[in-house]
C-alpha cells in the first residue's frame, strides 16, 4: 500500500515529489519556476519571484516596457527617472550585459552539510535543532551559502560556520542589474546520467525573453562514486560519460538565450578526503575519542551505504583507481570543450581546483581537514566553499574575462536609488 494514494495525503506527496524529483519549486502559482517561499526548491535555490501570479515576471527576465510600472525581472530596479524621462532599467542596465548564474550539478554544488553538533552529545541542545525542518525541506543542502549561488550572510552560525562568497555574489557586485538572477540546480547524488535525464531539464530560461546566463555544469564525483562493494564496475565509463554530457549540452543549446556561456568543471581528486581526515576523530566519537573517520568509512562500506566506496576507504589501490577514472572523465570534458561548438553559448573547461584551494589554505597556516565536511567526510565545508568561489573567480578573471560581463558604471547610482533592491 502506498501512503501517497490516500486522499488528502496525495496532494502533500505531489508537492514533495514535484520539489524533490523534478527539482522545481513546490509552491509556484504561475508555474514560471520561481517561488515566493524559501524551501522546497524556492528562493534558497532560485531568485525569489516578485510576482507569483504572472509567469512573465521572474528573475532573469528582460524588462517589460522598461519596467516602468512593475519590476518584471525582480532585480529591484523599476520606475522612471524624472530628470531624463527614461525608465531606470534603460538608464542603469541597458548595455551592461546582465547575466544570471546557473549551477547544474551535484551535492557539492548544492552544498550538502549536516551540522556536526547533531552528532556530538555535548553540543546537543534545542537551538542546534531550531532550523531542522528548514534544513530537511532544503534536502540538507545550503544553496544560499554555496560557492555558486550563495547570496546571503551566514545567519545560521550555530550549525554552519564560515564566510560566504560566491560567483553569483561577485557577478551581482560587478553589475547590480543581476540582482536575484541565480538558479542552483544542484542535486544530491547528481551524475552525468541524471544530469541529462532530469537536472538540466529543470533549468528555467526563456531563450527569447530572458537574459543570457553563465551556466556551470559540475558533476565532480558521483560518476565514480557509489556504495557497491564492487564499486569499480559501477562507475560511468568514458564513452557513456561523453554521450551524457554531449546530450546535456545539446539540450542547453536549445534553451539558453544567445550569448550565454557554459563552464564545465572537471571531476575532483577525492583521494584528498581520506588523506586529510582518516586518522582524525569523527564527531560521534568526540566524547571518548573512540571513532576515527577510517572507522566511519569502514562502517558505511560494511552497510553498503557509502556515498563513495572508491575514495572513502583505507584501500589505497582502490582510491588510486577511482582517481584514475575521475581523471579519465575530466579528460572527456576537456576533449568536448576543445572539439564542440554551440550556437547559443561558448564552452570553457576549468579544473575543480580543490587541491589548489587546500594547498593555499595550508600555505597560510591552515590544515586540510579544516576544509572538509565533518559529518560525511565527503564534501567541502562552508569555509572551502567561500575559498573555492574566490579561486574560480580568479581563474575566470585570468582566463575567460568575457564570461563575467562588464562592470556596471551605474552600480553606485543603483545602490543610492534602490538600496538592497528588495533583498532576497
Amino acid at each position: 500500500a502506498d501512503i501517497c494514494n490516500i486522499p488528502g495525503i496525495k496532494e502533500i506527496c505531489d508537492i514533495i515529489n514535484r520539489a524533490f524529483n523534478s527539482h522545481l519549486p513546490a509552491e509556484d502559482l504561475d508555474k514560471d519556476g520561481f517561488s515566493t517561499i524559501k524551501t522546497f526548491r524556492g528562493s534558497s535555490w532560485r531568485g525569489k519571484d516578485c510576482n507569483d501570479l504572472d509567469s512573465r515576471h521572474h528573475p532573469g527576465a528582460r524588462p517589460i516596457n522598461g519596467d516602468v510600472l512593475t519590476d518584471s525581472n525582480c532585480n529591484g530596479i523599476s520606475g522612471l527617472d524624472s530628470e531624463t524621462g527614461l525608465p531606470y532599467e534603460d538608464l542603469l542596465c541597458n548595455g551592461t550585459e546582465p547575466r544570471g548564474m546557473i549551477l547544474l550539478g551535484d551535492s557539492i554544488g548544492a552544498h550538502f552539510h549536516l551540522p556536526p553538533q547533531w552528532f556530538e552529545a555535548k553540543s546537543l541542545n534545542p537551538s542546534v535543532f531550531k532550523d531542522l525542518l528548514f534544513i530537511l525541506e532544503n534536502e540538507i543542502d545550503w544553496p544560499e551559502l554555496s560557492a555558486a549561488t550563495g547570496h546571503m550572510n551566514n545567519t545560521f552560525g550555530e550549525v554552519i560556520k564560515g564566510p560566504v562568497d560566491s560567483i553569483y555574489m561577485r557577478l551581482r557586485e560587478r553589475n547590480r542589474c543581476n540582482h536575484r538572477d541565480y538558479q542552483n540546480i544542484g542535486v544530491n547524488g547528481g551524475r552525468s546520467g541524471s544530469m541529462n535525464s532530469t537536472i538540466v531539464r529543470s533549468l528555467v530560461r526563456n531563450r527569447m525573453s530572458d537574459y543570457p546566463a553563465l551556466v556551470n555544469i559540475e558533476v565532480v564525483g558521483n560518476d565514480v562514486c557509489n556504495g557497491h562493494p564492487d564499486t569499480l564496475s559501477h562507475m560511468t565509463k568514458p564513452d557513456e560519460f561523453r554521450k551524457n554530457m554531449l546530450d546535456t549540452l545539446q539540450y542547453l543549446d536549445g534553451v539558453l538565450p544567445a550569448g550565454s556561456h557554459v563552464w564545465l568543471t572537471g571531476l575532483a581528486n577525492g583521494s584528498l578526503l581520506y588523506d586529510n581526515v582518516h586518522d582524525r576523530i569523527y564527531p560521534l566519537g568526540s566524547l571518548r575519542n573512540d571513532i576515527t573517520y577510517t572507522d566511519f568509512y569502514s562502517y558505511m562500506n560494511c552497510l553498503e551505504i557509502s556515498p563513495c566506496a572508491g575514495w572513502l576507504t583505507d584501500n589505497s589501490t582502490l582510491r588510486y583507481l577511482t582517481t584514475k577514472r575521475a581523471f579519465e572523465l575530466s579528460d572527456v570534458l576537456k576533449n568536448i570543450t576543445a572539439t564542440s561548438e554551440y550556437k547559443n553559448f561558448d564552452l570553457v573547461y576549468l579544473d575543480i581546483g580543490i587541491d589548489e584551494v587546500i594547498a593555499e589554505w595550508e600555505a597560510n597556516g591552515g590544515e586540510g581537514w579544516q576544509l572538509i565536511e565533518p559529518v560525511d567526510g565527503f564534501h567541502i565545508n562552508q569555509q572551502a566553499n567561500a575559498l573555492a568561489a574566490a579561486h574560480f573567480w580568479k581563474q575566470l578573471e585570468k582566463e575567460y574575462p568575457d564570461l563575467m560581463g562588464k562592470v556596471n558604471p551605474n552600480n553606485d547610482r543603483i545602490k543610492e536609488l534602490f538600496g538592497d533592491q528588495g533583498g532576497y
Binding site: 560521534l284 571513532i291 552497510l303
Partner: protein
C-alpha cells in the same frame, strides 16, 4: 546490506542517547526523552512515540553495557545478512560482536514478538 541506512540511523541515535546519559548522569530512558525535547515542536510527538516503544529495551541493553551497535541488532534495526560480517561503528564489545549478539538474542526475540504484535 546488514540493515543499511536504518541500521546506521539507529546506531547514531542510540550512540547519542548513551552519551547523553553519561553527560547528564541519567538513565537512557531520561536521556532519550531529553533528546526528543531538543527537537522542534512538530517532531517531538513522533520522537516520543518511537521512544515509548523502544526506550525500555534500549535502556536495559545500555544498562548491561552493550554497545550501540549491539543494541541496534537487539531491537532489530541491524542484522547480519548471509555472507556478511556484523558491522560496527563503535569499538567492538569485549568478547567480540558475535558473543554480544548471542547474549542479546532473548531481547531480540522479545522485540521481534512485540513488533509482530503491533504490526511493525
Amino acid at each position: 546490506a546488514n540493515g543499511g541506512t536504518n541500521c546506521a540511523a539507529c546506531a547514531v541515535l542510540v550512540g547519542l542517547v548513551e552519551q547523553l546519559a553519561q553527560v547528564y548522569n541519567e538513565d537512557a530512558v531520561k536521556a532519550l526523552d531529553r533528546f526528543c525535547s531538543f527537537l522542534p515542536d512538530q517532531l517531538q510527538a513522533p520522537c516520543r512515540a518511537g521512544a515509548k516503544i523502544f526506550a525500555p529495551y534500549i535502556a536495559e541493553a545500555i544498562y548491561n553495557k552493550e554497545t550501540p551497535d549491539v543494541v541496534c541488532h537487539a531491537i532489530g534495526f541491524c542484522k547480519v545478512d548471509p555472507g556478511h560480517q556484523a558491522c560496527h561503528l563503535f569499538p567492538v564489545p569485549k568478547g567480540g560482536m558475535e558473543a554480544a549478539l548471542r547474549r542479546t538474542q532473548p531481547m531480540y526475540q522479545e522485540v521481534k514478538k512485540m513488533r509482530q504484535q503491533h504490526g511493525y
